[in-house]
Amino acid sequence: MNRSPSQFKILASENVADQRLRNTFQSATGHALGQRAQSVQLVPEWEDLRERAHRIKEETVEHLDFYLEKLEASVIRRGGRVFWARDASEASNYVVNLCRRLQAPTVVKSKSMAAEEIGLADALESGGVEPVETDLGEFIIQVAGETPSHIIAPALHMTRQQIGKLFHEKFGIPYTDVPAELCAFARQRLRREFLSARLGISGVNFAAADTGTIVIVENEGNARLCTSLPRVHLAIMGLEKVIPRFADLPLFLKLLARSSTGQRQTSYVSMISGPRREQEWDGPEEFHLILLDNGRSDILADPRMRRSLYCIRCGACLNTCPIYQRVGGHSYGSVYSGPIGSVLTPLFQGLEVAKDLPYASSLCGSCSNICPVKIDLHHQLLWLREKLVSRRATPWQERLAMSLFAAGMKDPTLYRMGSALLRLLLKVSGRGNRPFAVPGWSPTRDFPALAETSFKQWWEDNRPGGEG
C-alpha cells in the first residue's frame, strides 16, 4: 500500500471518520502515556537527564564528522566493516550484493526505521532475496502487505480478528483470535527462518564512537536472534545514531525505555562490538555497519532544523500528540509519523510533497515537553511553515487573506472599516458562525458566536471615568 505525505488531508479525514481506528489509537496512546508518566515520576532527576542528553546530542551533531570517523575507526578495529551510503539505492545495493556473495536466498530482519525509510525489504525482493520480518508487529504487516503505523508498535492499527483471519488465510492454520496463540504460531514459524538464514539484518538505537559498539533495544528477542545465529550480521543506522561514548549509554537507555514503553529496561539490550571474537562460543563471523546519509547531511545544513537529528525514536511525541491520537500513523504517508514525522518527512522528501504535515499540529507544544532529548518540535514545525510561506507554497486564498489581514492590522482606519464590513456581512447572511464557505477551511471550523458590539465600541461605552 503506497501512501504519500502529499495525501495527508485525504488520509487523515478518512482515518478520523473510522471510529474503530480512532478508538484504537486513542486508547493505545493513552495507555503508553500512562505507563510513561508512572515510570518517569520515579526519576526525580528526569529534567536534568533530558538536559544532559540534549547537550550530548548537540555536541555529537555539531561535530558529526568527527564522531562518525571515530566510530568507523572503532568498528574496523573490532574487525567490522563500515559502508557509507549516500542514499537508499547505495545502501540497498550493498545489502543485495552481500546476499549474492553469501548465496543467501532469505535474510532475517529485525526492526529498523532506517531500513524502512529506504524500502530495503522491497529492494531485497527485487534483488531476488526474500526478506523475513521477524518482529511480531512487522511480521504481521509484512504478511498483510501493510506499512507500520507507529514507531514502537507497527501493527497498532490492526485488530486481533484481522490478524487471526490473515494468518488463517495466508498460512492455512485454524482461525484463532487469541493473541498468545497467534504469537506462538509466529514464533514457531520464524524459528525455522532464524535457524537457516545466513544473514541477519538489524537496526541500531545507539552507536558508541569510542568503542564501536552498536546497541539494540527490544522486547521480543528477535533482534538477538538476528544478530546471534546467522553467519553474518549487518546493521544499518542513520548517521545521527552515533553517540560519543560507551559511557553515555546508561543515560540514553534510561531515557529511551521510560519514554517509549514506560519500562525501566526493555527485556533485551544488546551491545555488540564487532564480529565474534576468537575465544567466544558463537556469534557472526562478519559484522557490517551501514552509515546512511539519505538526506541527513542536508538537514544538518540548516542550523535550526539540525536539532531534529537528536531524535532517539522513542515514539513519545506520537503518543502525546492530539493530532496523531486522532488521525493515526498511516495518515502521514511516510514511515515517520506524529510530530517528529511532520518535521522529518518534509525535510527528507521535500516541503512541496509534504506541505500539509507542518500544519498537522495544534502547536500546543506537548511534543516538545515530552521529548527525552528536548527537541523543540513545535518550533521546528513553525519554522517549516515559515519556509513554506516564504516560498509561496501556501494556497493563494490563504496568502490573499493574510495580506488583507496584514494591511488591516497596520492601518486603524482600514481595520475599523474592515471589521464593520465583516460584522455587517455576518449579520446579513444570518449565519452568524458560518458566514461564507471557504473551501478547505470552513467545513472543519466554526466561527465563535459574534458579540453584540465590537470591543472598541464596548470599551468606549464602558471605560471607567469616561473620556479623559
Binding site: T159, R187, E220, G221, R264, T266, D293, D298
Partner: protein, 236 residues
C-alpha cells in the same frame, strides 16, 4: 572501499561550515548518569532486584549454598517436566559441577553440555538445533542490576544462543555481582573500556521475552525464553 565516504563527510563539513576535519569536545563529566550510591546493603540490594525482576515476570530466588541451588534445579526440572536441559560452560556452572551433579540427580533427563569450541559453521548450526529443542538452559551472569531487575551476560561466558533458544533460561549469579543501577555496572566495566576488554556481545536481560504487538496485549515468550529465572547463590 567506497567513494561515498568522502562525499558524505564533505557534505557534513560544508553543512557545519567547517573547512576541515572537526574536533569533538569532551564533556566535563564523562558519565551521563551518576550511580545512586549509598544503597550498598546486600540484603536491600537483593530485595530490590527481586522486587523489580518479579514485576516484569522474572523468577528471582536466593539460594544460600550450592546444595540448595542444585536441589532447586532438580525440583524445577521435575515440577515442569522438562525433558532436555542444556548447561553452559560458564565459570559458575563449572564451579558448582552442574554437569556431573545433574546427570546423577536427573538420570532420566537428557543433558546437553556446551563445551569445546564450536568453531565450524556446521557444528554451530547443530548446536542451534539442539538448543532450540531444549526446555531449560543454565548459564551464568556477569552483573545483576537491582534498580531494574536486570541480568547482564557476556558472549565470553556462554554462547549467545544458549540463553536465547531454550524455553526457559536459568542464570546463576553471586551476591557480589549485584549493582544498584546501570551506571554502577558501567563504572565497573570502565568508563572508557580500552580496546579488547569488551566482549563482542554484552546483553542485558530483564524478565522473559515479551511482546504487546497484538492489540497491546502483553504476551510472555515472543521469540526468546518464556521463563527467565535468576538465582543468586551465597549468603548476603
Amino acid at each position: 572501499m567506497n567513494g561515498s565516504r568522502e562525499v558524505i563527510l564533505g557534505r557534513i563539513r560544508r553543512a557545519l561550515l567547517r573547512p576541515g576535519p572537526g574536533q569533538g569536545q569532551e564533556h566535563g563529566s564523562l558519565n551521563g548518569v551518576q550511580s545512586s550510591s549509598g544503597r550498598v546493603d546486600p540484603v536491600q540490594l537483593f530485595g530490590q532486584f527481586q522486587e523489580q525482576s518479579e514485576r516484569v515476570g522474572g523468577e528471582p530466588r536466593l539460594c544460600t549454598d550450592s546444595e540448595e541451588a542444585l536441589r532447586g534445579i532438580q525440583d524445577l526440572v521435575v515440577a515442569a517436566a522438562y525433558r532436555r536441559v542444556a548447561v553452559s560452560n560458564h565459570e559458575i556452572c563449572r564451579r558448582h559441577r552442574l554437569a556431573q551433579v545433574l546427570s546423577d540427580l536427573l538420570p532420566e533427563v537428557s543433558l546437553w553440555i556446551e563445551e569445546g569450541n564450536s568453531d565450524s559453521g556446521s557444528s554451530r548450526r547443530r548446536n542451534s538445533r539442539q538448543l532450540a529443542q531444549a526446555d531449560l538452559s543454565i548459564t551464568g551472569a556477569e552483573f545483576l542490576i537491582a534498580e531494574s531487575g536486570t541480568v547482564l551476560i557476556a558472549s565470553t561466558g556462554s554462547s549467545r544462543q544458549i540463553s536465547l533458544l531454550p524455553t526457559a533460561h536459568l542464570v546463576l549469579a553471586t551476591p557480589d555481582q549485584i549493582c544498584p543501577d546501570l551506571a554502577a555496572v558501567f563504572q565497573q566495566l570502565g568508563t572508557a573500556p580500552e580496546e579488547g576488554r569488551l566482549p563482542a556481545a554484552l546483553t542485558m536481560i530483564t524478565g522473559p521475552s515479551r511482546t504487546a504487538d497484538i492489540e497491546k496485549v502483553l504476551i510472555k515468550g515472543a521469540h526468546g525464553p518464556v521463563r527467565q529465572l535468576t538465582w543468586v547463590i551465597g549468603r548476603l
